[in-house]
């Protein structure tokens, strides 16, 4: 398959601790790619390598290459441009201490969008896609930090969508969101994958099964298996994968 993002023998260490060990995989374009695995297996580290937010961890060392459209992310001249291309949602909801409107308009503004009407459009579209619009449309001036945890999580998602990233990385996006809203966001994600590649890190094995076209299983810093989701869940090649997806360990 052609790859949008390609990991080539990526090893990440935090000081003496190895978080990823020799991971090579290819993430196909305009698909939903799920990464599942027990806690502390390196899932989040994997995501952080893509938009180089791994750089914020002072002790982190990355060996190997991560390529986006065959371009090594570490040799990209403009790391800010890279992060605008790769949207990222972390599990901890963070509402910036700005209004809901400005939260979503933040990235477009920083990227140079000045036109008010254009911003209005972006804000409404992103909030709708994050299933937050109906709850906040009458109070866009409210501080983003005053929203509830689940709302802030969706606000974070809306912010990540505000730049129309070509790759959207979701790290446990649904832990603070109720099941009904989660389902609706999952529907949106299926829509969004026509426009962007989605990398989904999740602890909910069933969520991966519902959503993903491809699934990778990582355990103890190593990539165990990657295949089409159906294969991973029905006839995985590795015994460990089988036990994990069947809930026997993890």
């Amino acid at each position: 398959m052609t790859a949008h993002v390609r990991f080539e023998n990526v090893t990440v260490t935090y000081g003496p601790k190895t978080a990823l060990r020799g991971v090579s995989l290819a993430i196909p374009p305009k698909q939903i790619f799920a990464v599942i695995g027990p806690v502390n297996s390196g899932k989040t580290t994997l995501l952080r390598c893509i938009n180089r937010t791994i750089d914020f961890v002072p002790t982190a060392k990355v060996a190997g290459r991560v390529l986006i459209e065959d371009e090594d992310v570490r040799h990209m001249r403009d790391v800010y441009q890279l992060r605008r291309r790769v949207g990222m949602v972390f599990p901890l909801p963070v509402g910036l201490p700005l209004s809901v409107y400005e939260n979503v308009a933040y990235a477009p503004r920083r990227a140079g969008t000045r036109d008010r009407r254009q911003l209005d459009e972006i804000v409404e579209r992103c909030l709708r896609e994050a299933m937050l619009w109906d709850e906040v449309k009458d109070r866009l001036n409210l501080l983003g930090t005053k929203l509830s945890g689940g709302q802030q999580q969706r606000l974070t998602l809306a912010r990540a969508l505000s730049l129309r990233p070509e790759i959207l990385c979701l790290d446990e996006f649904s832990i603070a969101i109720d099941p009904v809203t989660t389902m609706r966001i999952e529907d949106i994600l299926r829509e969004l994958k026509r426009q962007m590649t989605i990398v989904l890190v999740t602890n909910l094995v069933q969520q991966a099964r519902r959503l993903a076209d491809y699934t990778a299983f990582v355990s103890a810093s190593q990539l165990i298996e990657v295949d089409e989701t159906e294969t991973i869940f029905t006839k995985p090649a590795n015994r460990l994968t089988e036990r994990y997806v069947n809930g026997e360990f993890g």
Binding site: N51, T53, F56, P58, Y80, Q81, L82, R83, R84, G87, M88, F90, L92, V94, G95, L96, P97, L98, Y106, A107, R110, A111, L143, T145, T156, R159, A160, S162, L163
Partner: protein, 382 residues
């Protein structure tokens, strides 16, 4: 939780929720009231309290309940009124006594803490009462400083503080931002941080001597307002840097990372998120530094403060600018020292009046700072 509590609530509803029976924090009066209610419902059937309920209740202190209670319910003992099952246990009584003692002792020490401040203020104001008034502030010292007011030193202090902060605040704030937001956690940063800490520990007289060497002599400023201000600025720097870093640190890292994640540069993040949410704390630190700079004598002793300056304008606009930057000036702290030790025949109230103005100035500026901090805290955004 079922059992005796339900029954009692049936007879006479009480405002406290049922579980508060088991809360050790509930005060004595309520226990007494409850026991009375208890005796009124003597004829009601009291279901037994299962062992598990007692075990599940939140009070380890309740282990002294009569054995019958635990085994056969509260029935016999509680309702016969022979023993109050809700009376404080010895452990509880000891705990309450200790609590009372702790409260009194801590309050006492708090009083000791503020007593000197109050004593000094009252003493100064009483002693200075005869001279206190607008004319004392607005007149220049006269008759070899044995009469008149303190206008010239006051203006001198004002200039010293304003100029020193105009120098120190930008350097300190911008340096603090760099150290906190840009500099990596490496040995160079640590050396700088160590230097700042040590600078804060340098005695003010050493700052004064440094000022003589660096500004008065080397930079050729002479003993002047400018040299004294520069010396004060050097002294202020570490405090401003430290308070700036503290204010910046109070903005959660998660906000920065969220911005960086969206491709915002460090400066964009600082400008849009970090500074707007920490500028209050930074300003508070700077304002506190005003009072310290105003009160210092040692750094300006050899660098620009003079005992007395004659021929100053008494009235009009010129009296607001009595000094030019390259000549010495009078200052309140220095003036106070002079009055107290060098001038013959100065009346007591004038000395104390000077002290009152200096301390009043300090209190006023600090109040502004504290008020600002309170205001900002009230509109904290997360």
């Amino acid at each position: 939780m079922h059992g005796i509590i339900d029954v009692c609530l049936d007879v006479e509803p009480v405002s406290q929720p049922a579980w508060s029976v088991f809360r050790p924090s509930v005060g004595r009066p309520w226990f007494i009231g409850h026991v009375k209610v208890n005796s009124e419902c003597r004829r009601a059937t009291v279901p037994t309290v299962p062992q598990s309920t007692i075990a599940a209740s939140e009070t380890p202190e309740r282990h002294d309940l009569p054995a019958t209670t635990a085994a056969g319910g509260l029935g016999e003992v509680g309702l016969a009124g022979t023993r109050n099952p809700f009376a404080a246990s010895p452990l509880e009584r000891r705990k309450n006594a200790k609590e009372a003692i702790a409260r009194v002792v801590l309050a006492l020490f708090t009083f000791v803490l503020i007593a000197p401040v109050l004593a000094i203020l009252v003493y100064l104001v009483v002693k200075a009462w005869p001279v206190l008034g607008l004319s004392f502030i607005l007149e220049n010292p006269a008759n070899r400083m044995t009469a008149g007011g303190i206008w010239a030193p006051l203006v001198g202090t004002f200039f010293l503080v304003v100029i020193s902060l105009a120098i120190a605040a930008p350097i300190g704030i911008l340096g603090g931002v760099y150290l906190n937001e840009y500099a990596g956690n490496n040995w160079r940063t640590r050396v700088v941080a160590l230097g700042v800490t040590n600078l804060a520990g340098v005695p003010s007289i050493v700052h004064g001597l440094f000022g003589v060497g660096a500004f008065v002599l080397f930079a050729g400023m002479g003993e002047s307002v400018l040299a004294a201000s520069c010396t004060l600025a050097v002294m202020s720097l570490p405090v401003i840097i430290t308070s700036t870093r503290e204010a910046l640190n109070s903005v959660p890292m998660a906000f920065r990372e969220a911005c960086w994640n969206m491709g915002a540069t460090r400066w964009q993040t600082i400008r849009t998120i970090v500074l707007p949410n920490s500028i209050g704390g930074i300003l508070t630190g700077v304002i506190f530094e005003v009072t310290r700079a105003a009160g210092e004598t040692a750094p300006i002793l050899f660098t620009g403060a003079v005992f007395f300056k004659g021929g100053l304008k008494e009235h009009g606009l010129a009296s607001f600018f009595p000094y030019s930057l390259n000549e010495g000036c009078m200052a309140l702290s220095m003036h106070l020292y002079t009055l107290a030790t060098q001038v013959v025949g100065v009346s007591e109230p004038i000395q104390y009046g000077t002290a009152v103005v200096l301390i009043g100035l300090t209190l006023a500026v600090n109040s502004v700072s504290i008020g600002l901090r309170g205001y900002l805290r009230s509109r904290k955004k997360w």
